[in-house]
């Protein structure tokens, strides 16, 4: 008989993130925001000019 509770996929779903956040606390962003932030970082790091602008803006705001 299959054990339906076992999760084979390694990909975290929004529910997993929420459960982890409930267990360990510190949840301030939802799953979509976390994914977007990661994607945006990757895009900025991929293109030199975007990275330079991002660095300049960060140093201006500090």
């Amino acid at each position: 008989m299959n054990n339906l509770i076992v999760k084979n996929s390694q990909t975290l779903t929004s529910n997993d993130i929420e459960n982890l956040a409930k267990r360990f606390g510190g949840k301030s962003n939802d799953y979509i925001e976390i994914v977007n932030t990661q994607k945006n970082k990757q895009t900025i790091n991929k293109y030199a000019l975007l990275k330079e602008i991002d660095n300049a803006l960060k140093s201006l705001s500090n």
């Binding site: 977007n36 945006n40 895009t43 900025i44 991929k46 293109y47 975007l50 602008i53």
Partner: protein, 237 residues
């Protein structure tokens, strides 16, 4: 009257085509639409079927009464005013904008201004109700210009509604997808849709017309109808 100012964040982004196509999309709802060409290229009229040999416009007039004689109406009922072939400075542009605003228009009239990319928008005395659409393309130069604009907006007292709208979006480009996704999740004032790159725009201009009349079932025409509907919703709220 609702004033919409449309300009490219840099030259050659297609603001004139957007003004012409948007004017016709808005006109479809049977409201009055007036399009004013503030760009010295004076090519807005060509989209509305104005003869190539007609070179005169508001810049050739000594007074606003004389400028009124340069208004035209196209086959869709859009009223437009060409720029003309005389030089005009920022003060002349400010004056024509003010005078056009004083026109006795029906309630619900849309007045679209095709602004040159180099114009300083903070000089135009925009009001709270006005909408300024700054057209951008999904590339790194526009990314740079957008952040410079955001810095400038922080330093001026801007009370108008400012939006960035992506024009000529190429869905096949990885770079454009990357930049558009980044803008959608990080940039304030970005419109929630884009105008696709579509050959129909160039083709319809070649036929001295707009997408609505040349290719009513095109992606381009859908995009301009979306833009028109979005503007109506912005004005309603």
């Amino acid at each position: 009257m609702q004033r919409i100012f449309i300009k490219g964040i840099k030259g050659g982004i297609g603001s004139t085509s957007v003004v012409a196509n948007l004017a016709c999309a808005l006109r479809k709802s049977n409201v009055d639409v007036i399009a004013i060409d503030l760009d010295a290229k004076s090519d807005l009229g060509l989209h509305f079927g104005l003869k190539w040999t007609t070179t005169k416009g508001w810049s050739n007039a000594d007074s606003f009464e004389e400028a009124l004689t340069h208004f035209y109406k196209d086959s869709d009922g859009v009223i437009f005013l060409p720029f003309g072939d005389k030089n005009a400075n920022l003060n002349d542009i400010k004056t024509i904008v003010e005078n056009c605003t004083k026109l006795d228009c029906k309630l619900g009239t849309w007045m679209l201004f095709d602004c040159p990319s180099h114009i300083d928008i903070s000089e135009l005395a925009l009001e709270t109700k006005d909408i300024l659409i700054e057209l951008v393309t999904c590339d790194a130069i526009c990314h740079s210009l957008i952040y410079k604009r955001l810095q400038m907006l922080q330093n001026v007292e801007s009370n108008w509604n400012h939006f960035f709208l992506v024009n000529r979006y190429n869905a096949a480009s990885v770079l454009e997808f990357d930049i558009y996704s980044l803008w959608q999740s990080t940039l304030p004032f970005i419109a929630p849709f884009f105008i696709n790159l579509d050959e129909v725009i160039k083709e319809s201009t070649a036929h001295r017309n707009v997408a609505l009349n040349c290719a009513p079932y095109s992606v381009a025409n859908d995009d301009f109808e979306t833009l028109a509907g979005w503007l109506v919703s912005k004005v309603a709220f």
